[in-house]
Symmetry: C2
Subunit: 249 residues, 2 copies
Amino acid sequence: MWPNGWSTFIHSGTKQLTSGMAFPIICTVDVVLFTLKESALHVALLRREHEPFRGVLALPGGYIHPQADQDAESAARRVLQSKTGISSPYLEQLGSFSGAARDPRGWSLSVSYYALVAESLIASARSEASSQEVQLVPVERARGLPFDHRSIIEAALERVRSKSSYSSLPVYLCGDSFTLPELQAVYEAVLGESINKVSFRRKMDELDMLEPIEGAQQTGKAHRPAQLYRLKRQYRKQLSLTSRGINPD
Amino acid sequence: MWPNGWSTFIHSGTKQLTSGMAFPIICTVDVVLFTLKESALHVALLRREHEPFRGVLALPGGYIHPQADQDAESAARRVLQSKTGISSPYLEQLGSFSGAARDPRGWSLSVSYYALVAESLIASARSEASSQEVQLVPVERARGLPFDHRSIIEAALERVRSKSSYSSLPVYLCGDSFTLPELQAVYEAVLGESINKVSFRRKMDELDMLEPIEGAQQTGKAHRPAQLYRLKRQYRKQLSLTSRGINPD
DNA sequence: TGAATAGTGTCTTTCAGACATTATTAC
DNA sequence: GTAATAATGTCTGAAAGACACTATTCA
């Protein structure tokens, strides 16, 4: 099954550790950071500081550091923090992308994550971070990226859309407080479809994760003011799921 | 942020490849292979041939071989085939499990997959495979496993259950032909809930992925014989999704 | 014929979408 | 008052679950 001479290598557990050095696997993490800007989903990209593809826009990513990182998720948080200055309240593993072809340096494995943050969080992080500025690019325009970063973005997009249809995921794209019409617009932007207002409110009510902020209303508009809401405390770091989904209008 | 002397290591892209050899990441694949035996979900386990945990039951797994494997999924297929003799028609990435603590040999990363096969496929594979015999253990009794294999199984179980509620996933646990009552029993075993017969048949009809086998009926029982079905050709290697899920009775 | 399960028809309940109505603000 | 949108009440249609009834086999 294998070319001659490989069988020992392949079937020996202990030899792998030594032989492995001759054929190292490049282990990295990449983060697809989504935010909503002008009612459209954007991804955060950075110009690469090193070869390969130096100077090209790419997903924030970096090597896993076994000495420093407890696990891959810690590595993703560290990379995101150090390269963009952002600590995302929501970060979830998307999956791993691997193979001999995806990186010119050799066989590589990227454990990829996706994050959702409010645009305000990015703006404030930018000024603090010592590194270069984060580029926010509309998802559909994030093309021509190095490696398989476009595939990773597409997988993340699919996951976010699918998860948004039956969970509270999109609230992470909002700030601390928001009105129901605003939140509905966020869901619509993510799902790319309009949602029935009554159904949407029924779902939000059923999810039971929002609480009105007493006495706080969005004012200044030439119409009835909207009640401001926030996530209930117990959901600040956690998703809430609906049993039957949030459907298009 | 990092212990002294690490910063160069951490921020240098090119140095990683060389320094990496001193702190190699152990890259493996593991497969959670599910089958249905006596109306209960079972996982396939094997006694480990090498240290650590030699002789202990564990998930089929092994090192990624950059020279031989095109990507991690190929590695998973190779490992599954070589260790159990099984080529699963359905194999999907579950996620990656990583960290300094999960393997006594050091910082490790397991890209994990799950597979669903009919029990008959395992039986026939057993006789062909030159390796040791696969142990089928009821999922709830697969405990005391090495590494974080129990967590991997639980994640796989959750995925299979969730996916079964809105897709044709469980048909991979059936043989080539089956009756609708049999298929319903499979869904019920996976989901752990009874399903309304009429609704179930409506769903299967809506999925439009089964075709009756002309003139073939399950006979020999003291009651009306049941029509035998098989997957339509176009679905043999592919899942079918329902819009609204398969719900408990 | 009776027991057992397959397969189907149909009523009821539940839930999502449509639509209308009231509420509240700025101007 | 008027325009604009928030918020809510209610009707309708679609889909799921409950239940009953018919069909077909073996003993």
